[in-house]
C-alpha cells in the first residue's frame, strides 16, 4: 500500500464537512475548558483520581461483576451475559419474542452500534427506532455516527433539512428549531406504540446495582416510561465500585463531553417499577456485553477500558479534525477509537493496525482525558504490535528504519553521513527515497550543516 487510508480520506474530504467537524470539535473543546477551569482549581488532580478509580475497577472486574450481578438480581433485574455481538443481539431478540413484541424505542447507546443491533433486529422484522435526535437523523439517512457525543457532527442543517423532506417529515426548512420540533412530533407517537425501550448505561454502581444514564434530550426517560420492558446494554467496563464514585464521574463526564456542569437529565435506575410506582417498566433486563473487552483487559493496552466515552479526545485531536470520524472505519473514532478499534477487531487487528499511526503523538488527548488514559503510549504499543504482525495497512507509506538504526548505532558511519549529507541537495527528486520526495513537495529543506557543530566544539576546546 502506498498511502495511509486515513490520510487519503482526509485529502478527499469535502471542505464543508471538514468545516462542520472543525466547528463542532472546537466549540466542544472550548466549552470543556471553560467548564472545568471555572469549577475547579486543579481539574488535573480530579482527572488522575478518576483514572485511578477506573483502573482499579477494571483490574478487579472479577470481584465487581459478580457483585453487580447479585445486586441487580436482588433489585428485580434479569441479568444476561453476552460474550460477543451475536450473543448480545440474540438476548434482545429472545426477550422480544417472549413478549411477542415488535417495536423498540432506543436511546443512544454506543454498544448497540458496536454489536449492530438495529440491522440485526430489522432482519427479524422488528422495528428499532432511534430517539436521540442525532441518531434519529443518522438512521433516516442510512448514515453512520462520526462522533461519540455528537453523532452528526459531520452534517450541516441544510443536509438535515433535505433528508427530513425526503423522508416525509415536512417541507424543506433548515431552522434547527423546526427540525427538532418535527422530530419530536414524529417520535412522540412512536414512544406510545413501542413495547420495549432500550438504553445503554453510562455507569453501573457495583454497590447498589444502580444504572446511571445521562442525556440532554430526555429521550431515554421517555423510552423507559412509555414501555413495559426496559433492556439496558452495558459494556462490562462500565462499572464503578460505589455510588459515591458517581460524584466524580458525573462531574467530569458532563464537563468533558459538553461543557455542562451536569447534563439536563441524569437518571438513576434501580430496577423495574415497584408495586407502589404508578408507571415504568414491569420488566428490566441488563445485558452485559464483553465483545472483545476481556481480550483488551488481558492486553497491555487495558487502560483504554477506563474510557467513559466523553469525546474530549476527539474534540481536541488535530487528526480527527482534519479527517472526520468516518475516516476511522469503526464505531469508535478519534484517539480512543485508534486504540480501541484495532483491539476490538480481534483477529482482524492487522486490517485496523493503521489507525494507531494516525497521530503525531502530540498528547493532547491524554491531556484532556477525564480518566487520564495515556493514549499516545497505547498508540505506540499498537504500532509496535502492527509492525511485529507485519500489517500492510500499518506499513503503508512508512519509511523503513533498519538502515537508520545501523547508521545511528555506529559513530563512524554517522559522522561520515553527516559530512556526505552536503551532497543531498544534489540528489534529483526522481531518485530520492519516497519519504524525502514527500517532504520536498510540501516543505522547503533547511541548509545541510552536518558536522559543523562538532567542528565548532573542537575548535573551542583548542582555543
Amino acid at each position: 500500500m502506498k498511502f495511509q487510508q486515513i490520510d487519503q480520506y482526509a485529502a478527499h474530504l469535502a471542505s464543508d464537512k471538514r468545516a462542520s467537524v472543525y466547528g463542532g470539535t472546537k466549540s466542544g473543546y472550548d466549552a470543556r475548558l471553560r467548564a472545568l477551569t471555572t469549577s475547579y482549581t486543579a481539574p488535573d488532580h480530579l482527572r488522575k483520581l478518576a483514572g485511578n478509580i477506573k483502573q482499579h475497577t477494571i483490574e478487579n472486574l472479577d470481584t465487581y461483576l459478580p457483585q453487580v450481578e447479585a445486586k441487580l438480581q436482588s433489585n428485580g433485574v434479569q441479568v444476561h451475559w453476552a460474550g460477543d455481538a451475536d450473543e448480545a443481539c440474540a438476548h434482545v431478540l429472545r426477550i422480544m419474542r417472549a413478549r411477542a413484541a415488535t417495536k423498540i424505542v432506543k436511546a443512544k447507546t454506543m454498544v448497540s452500534e458496536e454489536i449492530g443491533l438495529a440491522p440485526y433486529l430489522e432482519k427479524e422484522g422488528i422495528e428499532c427506532l432511534e430517539t436521540d435526535l442525532g441518531e434519529f437523523i443518522i438512521q433516516i439517512d442510512h448514515d453512520h455516527p462520526s462522533h461519540i457525543v455528537k453523532p452528526i457532527i459531520h452534517k450541516n442543517r441544510r443536509e438535515i433539512a433535505t433528508s427530513f423532506e425526503k423522508n416525509g417529515l415536512g417541507a424543506y426548512n433548515d431552522d434547527p428549531q423546526v427540525i427538532t420540533l418535527r422530530a419530536r412530533q414524529f417520535l412522540r407517537h412512536k414512544y406510545l406504540e413501542a413495547n420495549v425501550g432500550i438504553s445503554g448505561a453510562n455507569f453501573v454502581s457495583a454497590e447498589s446495582g444502580r444504572l446511571v444514564l445521562v442525556t440532554n434530550e430526555g429521550n431515554s426517560r421517555f423510552s423507559i416510561a412509555a414501555t413495559k420492558v426496559h433492556i439496558a446494554l452495558v459494556g462490562i467496563e462500565k462499572i464503578v465500585p460505589k455510588d459515591r464514585d458517581l460524584e466524580i464521574f458525573l462531574n467530569l463526564l458532563a464537563r468533558s463531553a459538553t461543557g455542562q456542569q451536569l447534563t439536563s437529565y441524569t437518571e438513576f435506575i434501580r430496577g423495574p417499577k415497584s408495586t407502589t410506582q404508578p408507571d415504568g417498566p414491569e420488566e428490566m433486563h441488563v445485558i452485559f456485553v464483553d465483545n472483545g473487552r476481556t481480550d483488551v483487559l488481558a492486553d497491555e493496552c487495558r487502560p483504554i477500558l477506563r474510557c467513559i466515552r466523553c469525546s474530549a479526545c476527539l474534540n481536541v485531536c488535530p487528526i480527527y479534525r482534519q479527517a472526520s470520524g468516518h475516516a476511522y472505519r469503526a464505531v469508535y473514532p478519534g484517539p480512543v477509537g485508534a486504540v480501541l478499534s484495532p483491539l476490538l477487531a480481534g483477529k482482524r487487528f492487522s486490517e485496523m493496525a493503521d489507525l494507531p499511526k494516525a497521530s503525531t503523538l502530540c498528547g493532547a488527548c491524554n491531556e484532556v482525558c477525564p480518566v487520564n488514559i495515556p493514549i499516545p503510549d497505547l498508540l505506540l504499543r499498537l504500532r509496535d504490535r502492527g509492525k511485529k504482525e507485519k500489517s500492510e495497512a500499518a506499513a503503508a507509506a512508512t519509511p523503513p528504519m533498519g538502515g537508520f538504526a545501523i547508521l545511528a548505532s555506529s559513530p563512524l558511519l554517522w559522522k561520515t553521513a553527516l559530512k556526505a549529507g552536503v551532497l543531498a541537495p544534489l540528489v534529483p527528486p526522481s531518485v530520492m527515497p519516497a519519504a524525502g520526495k514527500t517532504w520536498v513537495t510540501t516543505r522547503g529543506l533547511p541548509e545541510w550543516r552536518g558536522g559543523k557543530f562538532r567542528q565548532w566544539m573542537k575548535n573551542r576546546k583548542k582555543s
Binding site: 486543579a42 487528526i319 528504519m401 548505532s409 510540501t442 516543505r443 533547511p446
Partner: protein, 318 residues
C-alpha cells in the same frame, strides 16, 4: 490488603480522597499460570477465576504518562546530547546551548560518539531498530552526570519512550537509571539550577510554540517563564496554541496531507499575531513550520530558545 476487600476498599477510597492520588496496586504476573490457564477471552472465565494473575503487569510510568517525576541529579558537570537535527542542520542552536550552559557555570562534556535518540524508529513502530539506537546512546552517555537535551521531544524519548520500549528487556534497570538523568534544556535551567529570571535584553516579539512533547512535564512553563522574564522581549499570544504543528516525525511523510493542513493552520494562527519570529524548544517543530512557510510563500524566521537566551546575554539590560 488486596485479599481483604473491606479493608482494601476503605483504605483505597480514604487514601484517594485525602491525597488526591491513590497508590496504584501493581499486579503480580506469574507466567507459569499462562501454562495452566491459557487466556480464554470469555466473560465466564473472567468472572469465576483469578484473572488478575494473568494480566501482564504494567509499570507505573506506563499507566499515567503525565506522572513523570524524577529526582534527577542537577550538578553542573553535565553531558550534552545535541540531537541529530542540530548535528545535521542547526549547529548554531547547539552552539547557543553550549554558550548558555557555560554562562551558567556548567562544565560540558560532549560525547563524540553520540548519534540520535532513536525516536524516528520508535514512533514509526519499529521498536527493534529503536532499541538498537537507544542502546548505543546508553553506552555513549555513561556515568551519572545530568544529560541535557535541547529538545523536549528527544528528552521525552530518553526519559519516557525508551522506558516503554525497554519494559521487557533485560537492560531495563540500566535504561531506567539513564532516564533518571535526562533533562530538557530549559527544565534544567529553571528547575535544576533554580534560575527564574533571565538577564540581558532581547528586542522584539515572538510567538512561543510549546512543543507537544513537553506536555505533562515541567518544560513548557519553564521555557515560558524564561522568555517572559527577558527585558525587551514580548511573547505574543495566538489562537489554538495547544494544537500540534503537524510534524510528528515520520508522520509528516506518512500522513503528508493531514500533516500539511495541520502545519498551515498553525501558521495561520501564528502569523495572525504577526510576531518577528517563532520560538520553540524543539528544532523539529521549527523545521516543519519554516519549511512549510517558505514553500507557501509566507516565510517567517524561526529560532531555538537557546539562541534567544544567548543573544539576550550579549545585550545588557537597561
Amino acid at each position: 490488603m488486596i485479599k481483604n476487600r473491606a479493608v482494601f476498599d476503605a483504605a483505597f477510597s480514604l487514601k484517594m480522597r485525602q491525597e488526591g492520588l491513590p497508590p496504584f496496586v501493581p499486579l503480580r504476573f506469574d507466567a507459569r499460570l499462562l501454562w495452566i490457564f491459557p487466556p480464554i477471552p470469555l466473560i465466564f472465565y473472567l468472572r469465576d477465576s483469578a484473572h488478575k494473575s494473568k494480566l501482564p503487569s504494567l509499570s507505573r510510568h506506563s499507566l499515567n504518562m503525565a506522572d513523570i517525576t524524577f529526582n534527577r541529579p542537577a550538578g553542573k558537570r553535565v553531558q550534552l546530547m545535541a540531537t541529530c537535527l542540530c548535528d545535521a542542520f542547526f549547529d548554531d542552536a547547539a552552539a547557543a546551548v553550549v554558550e548558555v550552559l557555560e554562562h551558567l557555570g556548567c562544565e560540558i562534556d560532549f560525547p563524540e560518539d553520540q548519534t540520535c535518540c532513536g525516536q524516528p524508529a520508535f514512533n514509526s513502530g519499529d521498536w527493534n531498530s529503536s532499541r538498537k539506537v537507544v542502546r548505543h546512546a546508553l553506552k555513549v552517555f555513561s556515568g551519572d552526570a545530568p544529560v541535557i537535551v535541547p529538545s523536549a521531544s528527544c528528552a521525552a524519548m530518553m526519559f519516557h519512550g525508551a522506558l516503554l520500549a525497554f519494559e521487557k528487556e533485560p537492560d531495563y534497570p540500566a535504561m531506567e537509571k539513564f532516564a533518571g538523568r535526562v533533562w530538557e534544556f530549559t527544565d534544567y535551567i529553571v528547575n535544576g539550577l533554580g534560575i527564574k529570571k533571565w538577564p540581558g535584553r532581547y528586542n522584539g516579539t515572538v510567538a512561543f510554540h510549546r512543543s507537544c512533547h513537553s506536555r505533562g512535564t515541567n518544560t513548557g512553563p519553564a521555557a515560558l517563564a524564561l522568555l517572559e522574564s527577558i527585558e525587551g522581549l514580548k511573547v505574543l499570544p495566538f489562537g489554538e496554541s495547544e494544537q500540534c504543528c503537524g510534524f510528528g516525525g515520520t508522520f509528516s511523510v506518512t500522513f503528508p496531507n493531514i500533516s500539511k493542513s495541520m502545519g498551515e493552520l498553525k501558521l495561520d494562527h501564528i502569523l495572525a499575531a504577526a510576531p518577528d519570529q517563532i520560538v520553540s524548544i524543539d528544532q523539529s517543530c521549527l523545521m516543519n513550520l519554516s519549511g512549510l512557510a517558505a514553500k507557501g510563500g509566507r516565510p517567517i524566521k524561526t529560532v531555538h530558545i537557546a539562541q534567544i537566551l544567548r543573544d539576550a546575554l550579549k545585550n545588557p539590560a537597561k
